[in-house]
């Protein structure tokens, strides 16, 4: 339960809707009980004395209670759902508030890319917290206690039986099954994870499996994983069915006991026979309300786990950051024996990296894939914390600066640039809210996207744009930001060579005095760079101007030879 504390307090903030929902649910439950109780009483009454007035009363009660039940049920659904959706909104806002100081560093620690969709899914699944976990027991308790109170005027023993039924069906049985679920739940989730991993291996590795003659064996294994997952699901389902049956059996047994006791009291003359049918009907109507408790254990467990997973993320300490402010400027960068190892990895991604980038110069960082180029850029951006060594910008240590101030002085294009659902304009305005349309259009022209209309729609994650278009749009967005230090990670890898060259040419012409750091696997067009840093295996292999490196006949020279020999027909 402790996992759910924050979520519960957040839910309870919607006091008005929750109170109304509980009130309506309470009324609906009572009206249902009153409906059956009155019809039981009136039919008994009619059997004793055939009076028209009873008939009229019966008709009136049925209509009144029936309508009341239906209307309040409607209100209950409306208010409880509204409270739930408002609560989800609050939850999203509060979660965002807690996640944003941890970003973007946290995204590097969780390697699995589905972290975010998992968060969203967990938040969504918490909609059952109010609707199916917190709310039903409260309403049930209210309906039961008031009905039991009413019944006690007729027979204390019968009221006691109803109380016992209440405790069993609303508290004991759901509680017991929720507790059992807590112990058995992982079986389903584990077998699902196994199946998912095995399916991914089978599908992604199919070609290699086929060649190495493992495909049939792995197919059989996949089949058996699918079966054991289904088997676990089936077991879980059967458990739910069983609990449902146990609960309805207890409920109906309670009514049976009410009938037997009532019959005994009537026969013994302790209870007026007139009330027998009514009491039995009350019990029947009362226990019709316990149906929602059948799904309580699974939803309780689900909500608990979702909350626990979310807490795990929000309870992480916010990394300490510096508070220094960085004034505007085309700053240079400096690194002194930088080293970085990804969490859980043995081999350092960067080691002993030292260089100096003077203000207003153009530097390319090149090297084979996996050599540490992008990691270096992330460290320079202050997204990844260096394990040792120092990085500084304009003579100030990177970790002494307020990251927001640091980022406000940089134009960045990452390998994956996010575009929001909206328009080209709304995505460009992120860089500069006050930029006039002409400036936006000009930025588009510079990257060769002049044909784009500013009001053109952008799908989720820029899904309706090609890889090259996204890269160019990201460059346009960075341009609009107007900072004077550029950090670009493979900014034109999906753009054709001629366009890429002209974009660079325009960019360098427009911003001749800015500092540029460009990570690239492409070795063409580096002649104009002031400095080329060649990385290999996390180290700097070579460092110098194009002419110097070609002269040296070293690592860069050889990479260049290979690139030249690549046959492109």
């Amino acid at each position: 339960m402790s996992e759910l504390k924050t979520m519960i307090s957040m839910t309870l903030r919607e006091r008005r809707d929750i109170t109304l929902a509980i009130l309506c649910g309470f009324l609906a439950g009572l009206a249902g009980v009153a409906l059956l109780a009155s019809s039981g009483y009136l039919i008994s009454q009619a059997a004793l004395a055939a009076q028209m007035v009873i008939l009229v009363a019966l008709g009136a009660c049925l209509k009144l209670f029936g309508l009341a039940a239906a209307v309040s049920r409607y209100g209950e659904r409306l208010f409880s759902h509204r409270a739930t959706f408002t609560m989800l909104g609050n939850l999203r806002v509060s979660f965002f508030g807690k996640l944003s100081p941890l970003a973007p560093r946290i995204f590097h620690e969780y390697r699995s890319g589905d972290l975010l969709s998992r968060i969203v899914g967990d938040v969504e699944s918490l909609q059952n917290l109010l609707l199916r976990v917190l709310y039903p027991p409260v309403v049930l308790l209210l309906v039961f206690t008031s009905t039991i109170f009413f019944t006690s005027f007729f027979s204390a023993a019968i009221a006691f039986v109803l109380l016992a039924g209440l405790l069993l069906t609303v508290v004991a049985v759901p509680g017991l099954f929720a507790w059992r679920k807590r112990k058995t739940k992982p079986a389903v989730r584990d077998s699902r994870a196994d199946l998912s991993a095995e399916a991914a291996e089978f599908l992604y590795g199919f070609r290699d499996l086929k060649i190495y003659q493992q495909a049939d064996a792995r197919k059989r294994q996949l089949q058996s994983f699918a079966e054991s997952y289904e088997e676990e699901k089936r077991k879980e389902g059967l458990q739910n069915t069983f609990m449902q049956s146990v609960n309805s059996f207890i409920a109906i047994l309670t009514t049976w006991t009410v009938l037997a006791l009532g019959a005994y009291f009537v026969a013994a003359g302790e209870l007026d026979g007139l009330y027998l049918a009514m009491l039995v009907m009350i019990s029947l109507a009362l226990f019709e309300n316990i149906a929602p408790m059948a799904v309580f254990p699974s939803h309780y467990e689900e909500s608990r786990q979702a909350a626990a997973r979310l807490n795990q993320i929000t309870e992480r300490p916010v990394p300490e950051t510096g508070s220094g402010q960085l004034p505007e400027g085309a700053w240079g960068l400096e690194a002194e024996t930088l080293a970085y190892t990804y969490p859980g990895e043995e081999r350092p991604a960067l080691r002993d990296v030292s260089f100096r980038i003077s203000p207003g110069t153009k530097t390319a960082v090149v090297g084979p894939s996996g050599s540490g180029k992008s990691t270096l850029l992330q460290v320079l951006l202050g997204i990844l914390p260096a394990d040792s060594g120092t990085a500084s910008i304009g003579g100030r240590k990177l970790n002494s600066l307020d990251p927001e101030s640091l980022w406000s002085r940089m134009n960045t294009v990452l390998q994956h640039n996010h575009f929001f659902y909206g328009t080209i304009r709304s995505n460009l305005l992120i860089a500069d809210e006050d930029a006039p349309d002409e400036a936006l259009q000009e930025a588009l022209e510079t990257v060769g996207l002049g044909a784009f209309s500013l009001s053109q729609e952008v799908g989720e994650k820029g899904g309706n744009l090609s890889g090259g278009e996204k890269q160019r749009l990201a460059i346009a967005r960075a341009m609009l930001k107007g900072a004077r230090l550029w950090l670009l990670d493979e900014p034109v890898s999906s753009v054709n060579a001629a366009t890429a060259r002209s974009i660079y040419a325009r960019l360098f012409r427009m911003r001749p005095d800015d500092t540029f750091v460009i990570v690239s696997h492409d070795l063409t067009g580096l002649e104009h760079m002031d400095q080329i840093i060649v990385m290999e295996n996390g180290r700097i292999a070579e460092n110098g101007s194009y002419a110097e490196l070609m002269e040296a006949h070293g690592y860069f020279y050889e990479l260049k030879q290979i690139e030249k020999s690549v046959f492109a027909s």
Partner: protein, 574 residues
């Protein structure tokens, strides 16, 4: 919905069980009402002693037990039905994945396929575990109840027959209206609900642009808009269940009135009958309401079932194999007008070429010209849709799969690493027990042993999903080690374009020279020197073989090749 129904009704045994349990449940409901009314009647009106009614209470208890246990049997059978059908669905899906000719090449679709196998199948669960059992009960129990009611007091039966049809009718009308409304709002809802994910995914961008501050407010506004739009859809759904409850309540009211009249005004029925009918009628309407809610849980599976049907309808082209076996000597390969076509899309071939033992063949062409498809055809990963590949004059289709793949090595641009240790990933190359010594030798030849031994756990280091990542060059060298361990007589090689480190580049060249001493090598070539050294070059353009021959002969006779080489060398001269 129909194809799901077919799947369910194919499980005849379980459907029969559901029917039998439903009949029992219906009878138990009648019995429960009967004994209950009898007890009340005897005690209340006839002044029976408690002892007199003990047998009746016993009968009631039996009826209750029967009702609960048949209800349990129905629930249980529903779960079993869902499990059985879903197992079959998954098994068919897996089979269709394995026989899909594109699986070997199209990795882009794999994510969708995983979600099909897990989520789409799970979404059909409610249809089998809830909807079908409820459907069976709705087919059977109301008729039992109706028959009893007709027998007891036919006017009530008539009223039910007149009012009950309004419920499904009304449900259909409201359901349709809600659906159009819901469909209209679905897209909007999608955007609202996607907004949170969108903002989270863009958090890095927002931070770098200093735009985090306003976002909380955006999320709140969007959440509230989402809430209001959803409430709009829900409101009509709630309204329909409100109307449903009210209609059934009204019907019960009319019946109560009619029974009251018969009881009081006309005195045509007894208290026993009146009470009995009044207990049965709400049960009847409750069943119809239950069906209404089960219908919704069944509907959830329809979209998923369409996705599944789409996958299962996809073309299956399994590769055909025979029984002939191959020796370990490099064979003579002939491509006899071999070609491949998938649907209306890409077509390759016909390709005509001879690849003698120990020779080196290069396949070249622009990207998208079908180089890798041709390699897959030769590998036996794709079925030829025309012509064939012969191996020592025996059609590849006549050779046993085991024997062929036993002789084949394949080094792709992006070799797949399986979840497991480095040793396991290398040993997968040889289809036999291997010693650590052999694995280590293969790793040494592939130039990766030093790197492996520098790791804390050496060859026992876990790689692949959930393990540590390897760089592109290291993956290539693992693939090479697999080939060294396997010693194949035919090696297919998809040469990397760029991005490899110099060490791997050198090792690849040296290793292929070494492996080529005992094998035929067919390369999708990107390096000029690989192409020049080849005995036969196959020049592809948009799926068509434009020329085949050695470097010298193509230079002499084939202009596009000559021009391409000239451009390349011109570049080199720069």
């Amino acid at each position: 919905m129909d194809n799901l129904k077919q799947l369910a009704f194919a499980k005849k045994g379980m459907v029969r069980l559901l029917m039998a349990a439903s009949v029992l449940k219906g009878l138990a409901m009648v019995g429960q009402a009967l004994f209950f009314v009898m007890v009340a009647d005897r005690v209340f009106l006839n002044g029976a002693s408690f002892r007199d009614i003990i047998p009746l209470l016993g009968g009631l208890l039996a009826a209750i037990l029967l009702r609960v246990s048949s209800g349990y049997a129905i629930g249980r059978t529903g779960r079993n039905l869902a499990a059985a059908v879903k197992k079959e669905l998954r098994s068919e899906l897996i089979a269709s994945f394995a026989d899909s000719p594109l699986l070997a090449s199209a990795r882009g679709q794999s994510g969708r396929k995983v979600s099909l196998l897990l989520d789409a199948v799970d979404e059909t669960d409610g249809f089998f575990s809830l909807y079908i059992p409820q459907l069976m009960q709705t087919y059977i129990i109301p008729f039992i109840l109706l028959a009893v009611i007709f027998f007891l007091h036919w006017p009530t039966g008539v009223i039910i027959l007149l009012t009950a049809p309004f419920i499904p009718l009304f449900m259909a009308i409201v359901g349709k209206r809600t659906k159009t409304k819901a469909d209209r709002q679905m897209e909007e809802l999608g955007h609202f609900s996607g907004n949170f994910l969108d903002v989270l995914q863009g958090l890095t961008t927002l931070k770098l642009y200093g735009r985090v501050r306003g976002q909380a407010e955006v999320i709140r506004t969007n959440s509230l808009n989402f809430r209001d739009a959803t409430m709009d859809v829900l409101k009509s759904a709630f309204l329909s269940s409100f109307a449903l409850e009210y209609i059934s309540m009204l019907s019960i009211g009319i019946i109560a009135l009619e029974i009251g009249m018969s009881l009081i005004a006309f005195e045509s029925i007894s208290f026993f009958t009146a009470f009995f009918v009044m207990v049965l009628v709400p049960e009847f309407f409750a069943l119809l309401k239950d069906f209404g809610s089960a219908f919704h849980s069944g509907r959830g599976g329809v979209a998923a079932s369409e996705q599944l049907a789409g996958q299962l309808r996809e073309e299956r082209q399994p590769v055909v194999w025979g029984r002939e076996t191959l020796s370990a000597v490099p064979p003579h390969l002939s491509l006899n007008g071999v070609g491949f076509r998938y649907g209306d899309g890409f077509a390759l071939g016909p390709v005509q070429a001879e690849i003698p033992p120990y020779s080196r063949a290069a396949i070249i062409g622009a990207s998208g010209s079908g180089k890798t498809t041709l390699l897959h055809l030769i590998a036996g990963l794709l079925p030829a849709s025309r012509g064939n590949v012969t191996v020592n004059s025996v059609p590849r289709e006549m050779i046993s799969e085991k024997s062929w793949f036993g002789q084949l090595g394949y080094i792709s641009q992006d070799p797949y690493l399986f979840a497991g240790t480095i040793e396991e990933n290398i040993a997968i190359g040889a289809d036999r027990e291997t010693s650590r010594k052999e694995v280590r030798e293969a790793a040494e030849k592939a130039g990766i042993a030093d790197m492996v031994l520098s790791l804390e756990h050496g060859f026992d280091t876990r790689i692949g999903e959930g393990g540590r990542g390897l760089s592109g060059g290291e993956k290539q060298r693992i693939a090479l080690a697999r080939a060294f361990l396997k010693k194949p007589s035919v090696i297919l090689f998809d040469e990397p374009t760029t991005g490899l480190d110099l060490k791997t580049e050198r090792i690849l060249q040296a290793s292929l020279d070494e492996l080529g001493k005992s094998a035929t090598i067919i390369t999708v070539a990107h390096r000029l020197h690989t192409i020049r050294q080849s005995d036969v070059i196959l020049y592809l353009d948009s799926g068509t073989l434009l020329a085949a021959g050695s470097h010298a002969s193509l230079m002499d006779t084939f202009k596009p090749y000559r021009e391409a080489i000239a451009v390349q060398q011109g570049d080199e001269a720069l």
